[in-house]
């Protein structure tokens, strides 16, 4: 259940996440902006409403697990972990500097709260499946949440994992596909189409839902209804906009990785201030 007050609070936190993503880019002068911004609502809903995690006790055995299969979206993960209190916020300002604890793809040994070392696309779902299996063996209620990119789905290893999750009836796993329709080289349908996406997942034995990935209420309500079917893994195809929130970068493949100029950063900050004004007003 999500009250209107909860919803507003989650929207405010999402804004903080976007600000923290930008803050890291500002520190490092570059970074994977597009895919981080497109999952801001999803990752906020997960960490602030859906998942059971404890920043004071990051290795708590009963915790839910989060696997960022598309590791290049890690600016969003760092932002949400900082917002949640897993580490000191000022570490965000070290992004891009020598020996930073925040490499361009996440490392579980650098900061607490990171569960996997991803970055090479197409690894996360197998690891997540193994986690789900192990948790189930131990009789734990913990769930495993995964975020994947839509371009990432071209990696064959994902479909090995998808088959194994359904064969082994891992109903404790929920995947979000960040369907921002873009990857490095352009539109996903043009580069390597995996449409119709919902039917493909269904054919692999998954229970599928489709949502607006920027609508926090929808995210929470659908995620709270997981598992969607008994004995089946669940997937949410979340339609999103790459670089959401940064007006000049939205839905543009060339902002997959952003080498930011001072002027662009200023404009981006103004965009986020504008969102803040609208939220308050």
């Amino acid at each position: 259940m999500l009250t209107v007050k909860d919803e507003l609070q989650l929207k405010n936190i999402t804004l903080n996440i976007r600000k923290k993503i930008l803050r890291q880019i500002k520190a490092g002068r570059m970074g994977h902006i597009g895919g981080a911004m497109s999952i801001a609502e999803i990752i906020t809903a997960l960490y602030f409403k859906i998942m059971r995690v404890d920043p004071e006790n990051p290795d708590w055995p009963m915790r839910d697990r989060f696997v960022l299969s598309a590791g290049h979206k890690c600016l969003a993960l760092y932002a949400v972990l900082a917002e949640k209190g897993f580490f000191e916020e000022n570490i965000l300002d070290t992004y891009g500097s020598l020996g930073s604890k925040l490499p361009g793809h996440p490392n579980m040994f650098e900061i607490p709260g990171i569960e996997t070392n991803t970055g090479a696309l197409g690894h996360g779902l197998s690891i997540a499946g193994g986690m789900a299996m192990g948790l189930r063996m131990d009789g734990l209620q913990s769930k495993v949440y995964v975020i994947m990119g839509d371009g990432e789905l071209a990696e064959g290893s994902n479909w090995e994992a998808a088959a194994a999750c359904s064969h082994h009836k891992l109903s404790n796993i929920l995947v979000f596909v960040d369907r921002n329709h873009l990857q490095i080289a352009g539109r996903t349908v043009d580069v390597m189409s995996y449409e119709p996406l919902d039917e493909r997942w269904r054919a692999f034995g998954w229970s599928v839902r489709e949502i607006d990935g920027h609508n926090i209420r929808q995210i929470v309500e659908v995620a709270e209804a997981f598992p969607f079917e008994e004995h089946k893994p669940s997937v949410i195809i979340a339609n999103t906009v790459k670089s959401k929130g940064i007006s000049f970068a939205e839905d543009r493949a060339d902002f997959h990785y952003w080498k930011a100029t001072d002027e662009e950063i200023l404009r981006a900050e103004q965009d986020l201030l504008e969102i803040e004004r609208r939220l308050k007003g």
Partner: protein, 311 residues
Amino acid sequence: MSELKDPRKTFGEALVEVGELYENVLAISTDSSAGSGMTPFKEKFPERHLEFGIMEQGAIGFASGLATTGKIPFVVAIAPFVTSRPFEMFRNDLGYMKQNVKVVGRCAGISYSDLGATHQSLEDIAILRTIPGVTLFNPGDPAEIKNVVHAACEINGPVYIKIGKNKMPVLHQAGYPFEAGKGVVMRDGKDVTIIGTGTVLSKAHLATQILEKDEIDVRLIDIHTLKPIDVDIILKAASETNYIVTVEEHYLAGGLGSEVAELLAREGVCAKIKMIGIDDQYVKSGPYEELLSLYGLGAEQIAQTVKKLLL
């Protein structure tokens, strides 16, 4: 001739032993559990065997995830399919993530001598050796297979165990001194050191007996742990004997011989080394023993190579 034992059967027995010792040991197969020696484990612990079908990359990833929940998965399959094929999964999901997964490459080397290069693994050590934190075992006899399986469970981290297909002679007495990361001096000598590993340790051992007849005093070292390798035993051999000869069923590039040469170069030690292994080629097809001889890995050929060095 000493007693011969099937390496996969021996591995299967060892898996049951560690299964009894550690309740979190799991067996993961990819459509070949029987061929991987898992049948006794499956019968004893059916709920601890997980089948993944022909999905080696996925199986390594799942094993990594299982290990994050405290399990000790053993992933066992034909060597190239759990080493070169899922190399990136091995590197990232096991190595970089430091996960407690044991990968067993069976029928390794050219032991599938009639199945062609697709089923052989002459580069597994070379590639896995580049992954920081992975322990590499290449046991040289049945007793050692058991020892390394037990040792693997005592190590909290990724381990690769390489075993062959053909029956292996028993070389070590029960209770011989085994320690992970430490070589075993099987015969002391001062003219030349032969360092053998894995399936062809027995050939090196036989070669030593041939050389004895010519009054050549051979030191024979068994290197069962290829990473971390026993530095001291090699440096000692370099200073105390005139030659070091390495013997392995692996490409010359990146295997035991490379390791020894790199080690000596790193330490700035000058020594005469001869590497016996397979050079840059896909091997011919044929009976295993005949192939080994063709590539200089038969006992006679090893002895000949050593004699030529000393002449």
